[in-house]
């Protein structure tokens, strides 16, 4: 059973209250309890434990459910996806300015969206921390790769990651377990990419391929997203929060929807106010230090809603920067039919729950008409047939049909499609930001966010390049893309803001209070015992998935908090 408490017990002042149990919050809970702090961790969703069959659907077959894996309202990625949440949550709306296309994913469970992600775990490179110095766009971080490197190393050894040593200048190597060998179609992609001088290397996923810290290595069932019962991949709940609970110094409050950070007469944080979703009652916890890790935009929202006479615009918002400089990864996908893969001999091609190869950014933007890069994820194979199986068979050469001939089509074409997803860097811009909606509140009475979103030419040209590149790779593989090249009017097929679920910024870090919400320790400029440990402090998006950097920065912030506590400053 979860070691939760009702919150109704005798008043306690915790050393630290952490809001959110995803990558950032889980890491803070792990590191701070290890350092001896008495911590309370608040999670807006329910309890989850991968190791219990009550939760994990690992190794279930599609016919074990009448739904065959189709999505449900609280599981948009399929009924067996571990992550409870979505772009729409009943009673928790958000609003958008006219013309804005933005979708906001929220995870609502222990471990947050680390239950859901593809485990792609990329370090930011040295250039990613100083883009403005390099091309004049965006901003530099107040810290460098060298400041973060020791924490990346420690995250690698604590959580585990596979990959390969490549010595690429802006895609630093980590401390890797061996990467699994490619699947059949990945061999073809790799060979094609080599011919086209596109860097194609083993994937870097937070999945262990040898035992680590009491966790068994991966068993290659391909179902990472369902919650791994052997914890062979990384999810914050089982890999960070559970060990923190075992210290005896962590109190976990689930179904605790945080309303605001409370502050005292001196303007310093005194704890957080939350709604116990099980009873609907307003409650609070007191703490000497508050760490927000509710996701980039949820933490920003909490700070905006934490208004007091000391902080009339909310916490961390003396300069009005809160909610600004928000970004998401750019994305577009192209799939191709590869005739040479028709009738692929049947074998177990599941592997880990993600691609075994990927392409990091391989070109020099100085020679291109857009300033920032992207990486490419590759998919295809003989994955478990489930709801949605080979939808759109009419696109294959026969053009549709029915009967015995159709049945044969499904057999021969299964496994003959290969897809490419571009994931690129967006540069923060003045037209993309979040603010509190002056009218709308959620079911808890908390003011909601209103989003403004606009892609710049930078992103559109980058996505155009993705489309052209993926179509060229498919052609080089001897294949065919059925979807027409999207037009400029169609944004070249760019996914909506928020669709890639890599939102960052909103409470960015900086050198000076006048243009940032937190300092280089992710400590609020205007409230020294408030920290932000998720994606909100990010200054740039990079062409990398953000989770590994969220973990490293949370670890770094936790080390700073521990040092300040020991020094008696906090």
């Amino acid at each position: 059973m979860p070691q939760t408490s009702s919150g109704a017990q005798a008043p306690t002042v915790y050393d630290v209250a952490i809001v959110g149990s995803g990558a950032g919050g889980g890491m803070a809970a792990h590191q701070l309890t290890k350092a001896g702090a008495k911590v309370v961790l608040l999670e807006a969703g329910g309890y989850w434990d991968n190791q219990s069959a009550q939760y994990s659907a690992m190794l279930k077959m599609p016919y074990d459910s009448p739904r065959r894996g189709a999505s449900t309202p609280d599981r948009p990625f399929g009924e067996w996806d571990a992550c409870i949440g979505g772009w729409q949550i009943p009673g928790e709306p958000y609003t958008k300015a006219e013309g804005t296309k933005f979708d906001w994913w929220r995870g609502r469970m222990l471990g947050g969206r680390t239950n859901h992600w593809g485990r792609i775990s990329l370090r930011f490179g040295p250039d990613d921390f100083r883009r403005k110095s390099l091309d004049g766009l965006g901003d530099d971080w107040p810290i460098s790769y060298d400041d973060v490197k020791p924490y990346y190393d420690e995250v690698d050894t604590l959580i585990g990651i596979f990959g390969s040593r490549e010595n690429l200048p802006n895609d630093p190597d980590g401390i890797f377990h061996d990467a699994p060998a490619p699947r059949y179609y990945e061999h073809l992609v790799k060979r094609t990419a080599d011919r086209m001088s596109i860097t194609c290397i083993p994937a870097r996923l937070s999945i262990i391929t040898k035992p680590l810290n009491g966790r068994a290595p991966c068993h290659y069932c391909g179902q990472c997203n369902r919650g791994c019962t052997t914890n062979s991949n990384f999810s914050s709940g089982n890999v960070l929060v559970m060990p923190a609970l075992r210290t005896g110094r962590l109190t976990l409050l689930t179904d605790a929807m945080v309303r605001e950070v409370m502050t005292g007469a001196d303007g310093r944080a005194t704890g957080v106010a939350y709604i116990d979703k099980k009873t609907g009652e307003d409650r609070e916890v007191r703490a000497k230090i508050v760490v927000l890790a509710a996701s980039a935009l949820e933490s920003s929202r909490i700070m905006m809603n934490s208004k007091s006479s000391h902080h009339p615009q909310g916490l961390g918002n003396a300069s009005g920067v809160l909610g600004k400089y928000i970004t998401d990864t750019t994305g577009t996908d192209v799939a191709g039919f590869i005739p040479s893969l028709v009738d692929v001999p049947r074998h177990n091609a599941d592997g880990v729950g993600g691609g075994h190869v990927f392409m990091p950014w391989w070109l020099d933007n100085k020679t291109l008409d857009f300033p920032r890069g992207y990486h490419i994820e590759v998919w295809g194979g003989l994955g478990m047939p489930s709801y949605g199986f080979m939808g759109g068979i009419q696109s294959y050469p026969e053009g549709g049909g029915y009967g015995a001939g159709l049945k044969q089509q499904y057999r021969k074409y299964w496994g003959a499609t290969v897809g490419f997803s571009g994931r690129g860097e967006m540069i923060p811009n003045d037209k993309s930001f979040a603010e509190l909606d002056p009218q709308v509140k959620d079911r808890f009475g908390i003011p909601v966010l209103k989003f403004h979103w606009e892609w710049a030419d930078h992103e559109l040209k980058q996505v155009k390049h993705m489309q052209e590149t993926f179509r060229a790779i498919v052609a080089e593989m001897g294949g065919e893309v059925w979807s027409p090249m999207p037009t400029r009017e169609q944004g070249y097929g760019i996914a909506n803001g928020g669709a890639i679920i890599h939102e960052l910024g909103g409470a960015r870090m900086g050198q000076r209070e006048r243009d940032s919400a937190v300092n280089k320790h992710c400590q609020a400029w205007d409230c020294d015992n408030l920290f932000v440990a998720d994606g909100a402090p990010f200054v740039s998006q990079a062409d990398k998935n953000p989770t590994w950097t969220i973990l490293a920065l949370s670890m770094r912030t936790s080390a700073f908090i521990t040092q300040q506590r020991k020094a008696g400053v906090l």
Binding site: F77, G78, Y220, C221, H347, A349, W379, G403
Partner: protein, 213 residues
């Protein structure tokens, strides 16, 4: 599945609602037409066009009672899924694999899908009635195939049949979803994953050879 595979899968899942959203008024008009006074109380299967014609097992033996199909719709849907995926030398038919029951469950999950299905089956009946003076179930195998041939290849189907062709494409997707995610369909495909593997061996050499890798 990887993150991007799941995104792709999500797009596939959305294919049916998207198809619904695009279903033009013609489908609804056809469905309304199907409900007019010409509709007999119950369709009687044609002599020469029984379910065996589409390779089905006996439907009468099944005790399943559908929750979201009328008796007539259930007859039609059990026929139609087997036209899409009949029994052959390797595996059973869509009804053998429980596809109609799967559809009945999914209709219970999704009101939009219920409307789409009813309109689509209504379109099938209306088209048969316009051509042969009787609904799909009462038409014979040759007649049914005439209609299917006209809508099963959307790029080649006539513009005025677009509503039916769109419906059939989505119906085919749903049938394949139900069939290939069943025990029968998984065995047919030869899917052998989703099981613990001690050591990942990569791609077997014979597969590499066959694919010229």
């Amino acid at each position: 599945m990887s993150e991007m595979n799941r995104r792709e899968a999500l797009q596939n899942l959305l294919a049916i609602p998207a198809g619904l959203a695009m279903a033009p008024g013609a489908l609804e008009r056809a469905a309304a037409h199907a409900h007019d006074a010409l509709e007999p109380p119950h369709e009687t299967p044609a002599q020469g066009g029984s379910e065996q014609g589409a390779g089905a097992q006996s439907a009468a033996a099944r005790p399943y009672s559908p929750k979201h199909f009328t008796t007539d719709e259930w007859r039609l849907v059990r026929l139609l899924v087997n036209y899409v995926i009949p029994r052959d030398a390797r595996s059973g038919s869509a009804t053998d694999a429980g596809v109609p029951e799967f559809m009945d469950f999914m209709l219970g999950e999704n009101a939009g899908m219920r409307t789409w299905m009813k309109n689509g089956l209504g379109w099938m009946n209306a088209e048969c009635r316009a051509r042969f003076g009787k609904g799909f179930v009462s038409s014979n195998d040759v007649q049914r195939r005439e209609v299917l041939d006209a809508i099963a290849f959307p790029k080649k189907s006539a513009a005025e049949l677009k509503a039916g062709a769109d419906f059939f494409s989505n119906f085919r997707n749903l049938t394949a979803s139900g069939f290939f995610s069943s025990r029968v369909g998984i065995a047919d495909l030869g899917y052998i994953g989703n099981r613990p593997v001690t050591t990942w061996q990569g791609t077997p050499p014979e597969v590499m050879r066959k694919l010229g890798l």
